[in-house]
């Protein structure tokens, strides 16, 4: 009898697991982002947010929104691995030279899995159409610039390896203690959702008390060091994360994702950067270092950030133009702060 009940329960679970989600709508307007069938007024319940450390996207301007199912909240008991309710949707709109190019959407399905999609905007800028997910597409922008729309596999390359697939919506990114030196920092908009409001309105629960009472901030010995660690967290931490936090993470020793609940996380990351040999080495060049204090030309970290050769570049996808602002910041940090031992003396 007990076996029979177990099998019945398994059958019910199997039926649930095989229940296919609704197919993605072909029009962005049907995803729930906008208030009107044809207008571009965002629904008031879809809240905008601006992470303090933005991902470098070749200079594109970005707008971001999140929608939580009514009456549900994010569980933040694991400060670095928020658990979003099923039905959560996030959108990110990319514009180049004042024109919308694409809007990406990620959503958590009823079975707990995440789905990724991209919509490309039409010439009239009135709507965006779902892009087939099987492979990446390249579109031409005015002026001849080429722009790559990611495939679903590209989306997962960055999002699926992270501790949680939502990358720019976290305690550190939404902290009200924003880093003024963050490369490409965008000022928070007046109606942006931030950590304080999320907690106050019950949209986020169980965040460790120390983070809810004091806005998260990367502890680093120098202002430049703080900004460097924030940049590396936002641009590299999705893959360079503790593999134990994600079954699909890469087995990297260089971990750059920042855990806001660990007060020593910044110092640990700096020591890892200084102490680790680079696993990347060109032919005949063994024992390369990631960083050589005082010498911005001497390590592989900046060499790979400067490159956009697909065999060499970091990040390996999602960018075709080196991030000069970040490179200059990290050069300064290596040449000044690290040379003077300001980062390691504490």
């Amino acid at each position: 009898m007990r076996i029979g009940m177990l099998l019945a329960s398994l059958a019910a679970s199997l039926a649930h697991a095989t229940q296919a989600p609704e197919p993605l709508p072909s029009s962005l307007h049907d995803t729930g982002l906008y208030a009107e069938p044809s207008g571009l007024q965002v629904r008031p319940e879809n809240r905008g947010f601006t992470p303090q450390y933005p991902l470098w996207s070749d200079g594109a301007t970005k707008h971001r929104w999140i929608s939580l199912p009514a009456g549900q909240s994010i569980n933040a008991s694991q400060a670095a691995v928020w658990d979003f309710p099923r039905g959560t949707k996030l959108w990110k709109e990319f514009s180049v030279d004042g024109r919308r190019v694409e809007t990406r959407m990620i959503e958590r399905l009823e079975d707990g899995d995440w789905r990724f999609s991209a919509y490309v905007w039409n010439e009239e800028q009135s709507d965006a159409t779902l892009v087939p997910s099987d492979k990446s597409r390249t579109v031409s922008l005015p002026g001849g610039r080429r722009y790559r729309i990611p495939s679903e596999a590209d989306c997962r390359a960055c999002h699926a390896g992270a501790a949680v697939p939502v990358l720019g919506f976290s305690a550190l990114q939404l902290s009200t203690d924003r880093d003024p030196l963050a490369p490409h920092a965008e000022p928070a908009r007046a109606d942006d959702l931030n950590l304080h409001e999320l907690i106050a309105k019950g949209m986020l629960v169980d965040l460790p008390r120390e983070l809810s009472e004091t806005p998260p901030r990367i502890a680093a010995p120098t202002p430049a060091g703080r900004a460097v660690l924030g940049y590396l967290h936002a641009n590299c931490g999705q893959c360079h994360v503790d593999p134990k936090l994600s079954g699909s993470a890469v087995p990297v020793e260089l971990q750059l994702a920042h855990d806001p609940s660990d007060a020593t996380a910044g110092t640990k990351t700096i020591h890892t950067l200084l102490d680790s040999a680079s696993r990347y080495s060109s032919a005949g060049a063994a024992d390369a270092r990631l960083i050589v204090p005082g010498d911005p030309q001497g390590g592989t970290l900046l060499a790979r950030m400067r490159s956009r050769d697909p065999r060499i570049q970091m990040p390996p996808l999602g960018s075709a133009i080196p991030d000069l602002e970040a490179i200059v910041l990290i050069e300064y940090w290596i040449e000044q702060d690290l040379k003077n031992n300001q980062e390691t003396s504490q």
Binding site: L6, A17, R156, A157, A160, G161, V250, R311
Partner: protein, 195 residues
């Protein structure tokens, strides 16, 4: 990926159901036999799929070129620093290979075959099955790094079943570890300047 995850969930559920049901049916395959079968299937696939052709270096033996099985599947030897690639004349020749068959030069640049042994520092020792599966499915290292270059036949191997990939990975994790740091690929030559 939703499909994959769902398949995985189904497989897990079916596996659980079978694990419960099988003792009743009295037809359970002993776990040791299943593991041995998976290992043997992986060895078979690695053998017939040509993995050794490029990932085990060729050396000159008394009867001509032969695989150096003391370095089985360890990729391009780090001790063999290749000279500059030869410049091919215009015409139908498109690629050249080192005598070891572990370094290849073509329009994609120069690629060096990877160390597939379970050495933790230079091979696949720290990889998970999912890292390995993501590599073959997407053509990117571990599904998220740089693209895998020719002559690795990713367009064909991406069609391997999950079961085959698991068998191959199981076998590769069982072979002797060889410490061999394979160099990173080189970019293709710059196109000649316009006159």
């Amino acid at each position: 990926m939703t499909v994959h995850r769902t398949r995985s969930s189904i497989a897990t559920l079916l596996g659980t159901a079978l694990a419960i049901a099988s003792p009743l049916a009295g037809s359970a395959e002993p776990a040791a036999d299943a593991a041995a079968s998976k290992l043997a299937h992986g060895k078979y696939l690695v053998t017939i799929a040509g993995c050794n052709d490029c990932h085990t270096p060729l050396v000159m033996g008394p009867e001509g070129p032969e695989r150096d099985m003391t370095r089985m599947l360890s990729g391009h030897p780090e001790s063999l620093v290749m000279p500059p690639r030869p410049v091919l004349p215009e015409g139908p020749w498109g690629a050249v290979a080192a005598a070891t068959f572990t370094a290849w030069s073509g329009p994609w640049g120069v690629s060096f075959t990877a160390n597939l042994t379970p050495d933790p520092e230079t091979g696949l020792g720290k990889w998970t099955l999912q890292n390995f599966r993501d590599t073959l499915r997407t053509g990117r290292r571990m599904g998220r790094g740089r693209e895998i270059l020719p002559p690795m036949p990713i367009p064909m191997y991406k069609n391997l079943t999950d079961e085959d990939i698991e068998s191959i990975f199981t076998y590769l994790q069982s072979i002797p570890a060889v410490k061999n740091h394979v160099p990173e690929p080189l970019p293709p030559p710059e196109p000649p300047a316009a006159k």
